[in-house]
């Protein structure tokens, strides 16, 4: 199931509105003012939370009503409209990219990269930071990007070597070496 951009935007803003509610409640709990009348620890979170609810709520309504929110740049005149039109043309994503991958394939790649990243971070207590991230590099290059194995291993090994040299040797930063305790 894919969300339309309009619904996704509205959902994100609605989540921010909920965050605003939580911040306002939290702020109230921390105390809005101190005994001497000065602002308390909760003053700013409460004020920002309320502001966030109002802004996010307005954004949800405007997005769902399909009204394009007015742009401040637009309001500066036609000059800005021209340059905004330029942004639209520049940032338009083609369906097939230069490597012949479709939007659907690229979406899958993104999900795969984020998932692999998550797995790599979970493996750090076992393999250590550098080895875990080095493996991540090899897997992304070979599985996600479908590059050849040998060059991928060489690029990853060189990169990890450079990082080890700079951070662990030169900057003497204690890297998490994990249960295997290599580098």
């Amino acid at each position: 199931m894919t969300l339309s951009p309009r619904i996704a935007r509205a959902a994100f803003s609605a989540a921010l509105a909920l965050l605003g509610v939580a911040a306002a409640i939290g702020g109230w709990g921390y105390g809005v003012t101190q005994d001497n009348g000065q602002v308390g620890a909760g003053f700013l979170p409460l004020a920002l939370g309320v502001l966030m609810i109002l802004l996010a709520g307005a954004d949800v309504v405007m997005t769902l009503m399909r009204r394009e929110p007015s742009s401040s740049l637009d309001e500066l005149g036609t000059l800005a409209e021209e340059v905004e039109a330029v942004i639209d043309t520049v940032e338009e994503s083609p369906d097939i990219d230069a490597l012949g991958r479709t939007q659907r394939q690229r979406n899958r790649m993104l999900v795969a990269v984020v998932a692999l990243l998550l797995v790599a971070l979970l493996l750090i207590p076992v393999l250590g930071l550098l080895i875990s991230l080095g493996l991540l590099m090899v897997v992304i290059a070979t599985v996600v990007e479908r590059r050849n194995l040998i060059p991928s291993i060489i690029v990853s090994a060189v990169t990890i070597g450079v990082f080890h040299l700079v951070f662990a040797v030169l900057l003497r930063l204690p890297m998490p070496t994990g249960m295997i305790g290599l580098i």
């Binding site: 996704a8 979170p45 097939i96 990219d97 990243l117 998550l118 971070l121 550098l130 590059r147």
Partner: protein
């Protein structure tokens, strides 16, 4: 002034500082030209590498990355129509058209020359403007600083180029994230959920790395790769006529860039867009805009460099960052135990003037690097993105770890990376979020102090003429654009009517 400049040259011209300046501008050029990496990402990711350096040397290198990236960002804009830097987006229009007509070299050369001239002009203006502004700011009490910060936030919200509400929403989100940790006024723990790592707040270097590095990589994966245009050495020749034709555009771009860059929160992206728009209206060659007009490259490239330097005026003189990258640099100052703001000119003259003079040295180095070597740099684009982005991911995660030697930072980077991707995908502006995050602690401190001065009454702000003036300017920033458009329409209708009645 002369003494200070001499002190600056003494500081900046040491062998060590010149070498690190070179490394900074070189890395900046490379970072600027690689899609998915911008100056903010570059400074944030490489910040941990500078911890072993002297503060002045570290800041010289980090600043070099910043303005070096403005040069590098152009190369990808021209050659593959993919801006390496947000400030180079507008250069893609005419730059890429020039490249398609075999004039990539002329486009790159004029952008290097324009950037250099703009940098020198804006540096002179920066040196002239920042110290007097710092002198004025020294007289500011927390009440005035509170008003100035509101002004900065309003500027970034109104100028960020998207919807006003969404900009304001992001600024509020940034300020809210900054409230995590110990409250400055009462030492109360807020939103830490018992996690000791959150006691000192959400560290913004990690947030920046997440949003700008990981978020950008995720976004680029979804956007896909573009077809590069190969830059040959023989295409690199620029004619004298190109330079003379572009000179007015370069000078106008420098002026526009400095004017926008000096505003806290406005940044170099807006400056480049505005200067392109203005040039498109006033240029003699306006018919060629969009089809490969050299002025369409010269003006925005001059403007973004001028704005990059001008961004240091509010950063150094007021302690309020001009844009996202100067926000990270502001964080670097605090990591090195320095408090940016008006006092910096008095307490750390060697550092401030050394840094300013290093801009001059850095820009000379960049001109030397970019004029003959742009095609060499362009070869970097041959590195397949399939290898490049895993390296960016690694650099970001290891860099984040090295900030605090803590895996918590790495997880934060991933979380904010996903958030940054969503923000890009949903077209939510990042600059207001970043400025809110960086200004948050300073803003709350000023709020608490203002409350203390007014004994709980925040209305004390309205008793300061300076604060009232600044707040009125902030209100004008929001209200005036709304009045101008209907006003223009009304004027147009009145003119039409008067023409009808007079029979013209």
């Amino acid at each position: 002034m002369l003494e200070n400049l001499l002190l600056g040259f003494q500081t900046a011209l040491t062998v060590e500082n010149v070498i690190w300046c070179f490394i900074g501008v070189f890395l900046g050029t490379v970072i600027g030209l690689l899609p998915g990496l911008g100056s903010t990402t570059g400074v944030a990711v490489l910040l941990p590498l500078t911890f072993a350096l002297e503060p002045v040397t570290a800041l010289i290198m980090l600043a070099g990355i910043y303005y070096g990236a403005q040069y590098g960002g152009t190369i990808t804009s021209v050659l593959i129509s993919t801006p390496g830097e947000a400030a180079s987006v507008v250069t893609t229009i005419d730059g890429y058209q020039m490249a398609k007509r075999g004039r990539a070299g002329a486009a790159l050369a004029i952008s290097a020359i324009g950037s250099f001239i703009a940098a020198i002009i804006s540096l002179a203006l920066l040196i002239a403007v920042a110290p007097p502004l710092a002198d004025v700011a020294l007289k500011f009490t927390p009440v005035e600083m509170f008003a100035v910060m509101i002004f900065g936030l309003v500027i970034v919200v109104t100028f960020q180029g998207g919807a006003l509400i969404r900009g304001a929403l992001m600024a509020v989100a940034g300020l809210l994230v900054a409230t995590v940790g110990i409250s400055p006024g009462t030492s109360t723990e807020r939103f830490t959920f018992g996690n000791v790592n959150l006691l000192s707040g959400i560290p913004f270097v990690e947030v920046m790395i997440g949003i700008f590095a990981l978020g950008e990589v995720f976004y680029q994966i979804r956007m896909g790769a573009a077809e590069p245009i190969k830059a040959r050495f023989k295409d690199m020749v620029i004619k004298r006529k190109d330079i003379t034709d572009s000179m007015p555009a370069i000078l106008r771009g420098s002026g526009v860039g400095f004017a926008f860059g000096i505003l806290p929160g406005a940044g170099s992206t807006l400056a480049s867009f505005m200067s392109y728009g203005i040039e498109r209206r006033v240029s003699k060659n306006k018919a060629n805009f969009g089809k490969g007009a050299i002025e369409g490259v010269a003006a925005p490239e001059s403007a973004n460099n001028a704005a990059a330097n001008a961004n240091f005026v509010p950063t150094l003189a007021l302690g309020i960052p001009g844009g996202a990258t100067t926000a990270v640099l502001l964080g670097a100052f605090t990591i090195f135990g320095l408090q940016p703001g008006p006092l910096l000119f008095e307490t750390q003259p060697a550092l401030v003037w050394g840094l300013l003079v290093s801009f001059f040295i850095g820009n000379v180095l960049l001109l030397i690097l970019n004029l003959p070597l742009a095609p060499v740099f362009a070869q970097m684009l041959r590195i397949p993105y399939g290898y490049l982005y895993p390296i960016i991911l690694l650099t970001s995660l290891i860099g984040a770890y090295s900030v605090s030697n803590n895996m918590f930072s790495v997880w934060l980077v991933l979380i904010f990376g996903i958030l940054g991707y969503l923000m890009k995908e949903l077209d939510l502006p990042m600059a207001p979020f970043v400025l809110g995050l960086v200004l948050g602690p300073l803003f709350e401190k000023a709020l608490v102090q203002t409350s203390a001065i007014g004994r709980g009454d925040l209305g004390v702000v309205l008793q300061s003429p300076i604060a009232v003036g600044v707040l009125l300017a902030a209100v004008a920033m929001i209200v005036l654009p709304k009045l101008i458009k209907p006003g223009r329409a009304l004027l147009g209708r009145m003119r039409d009517r008067s023409e009808e009645t007079t029979g013209v």
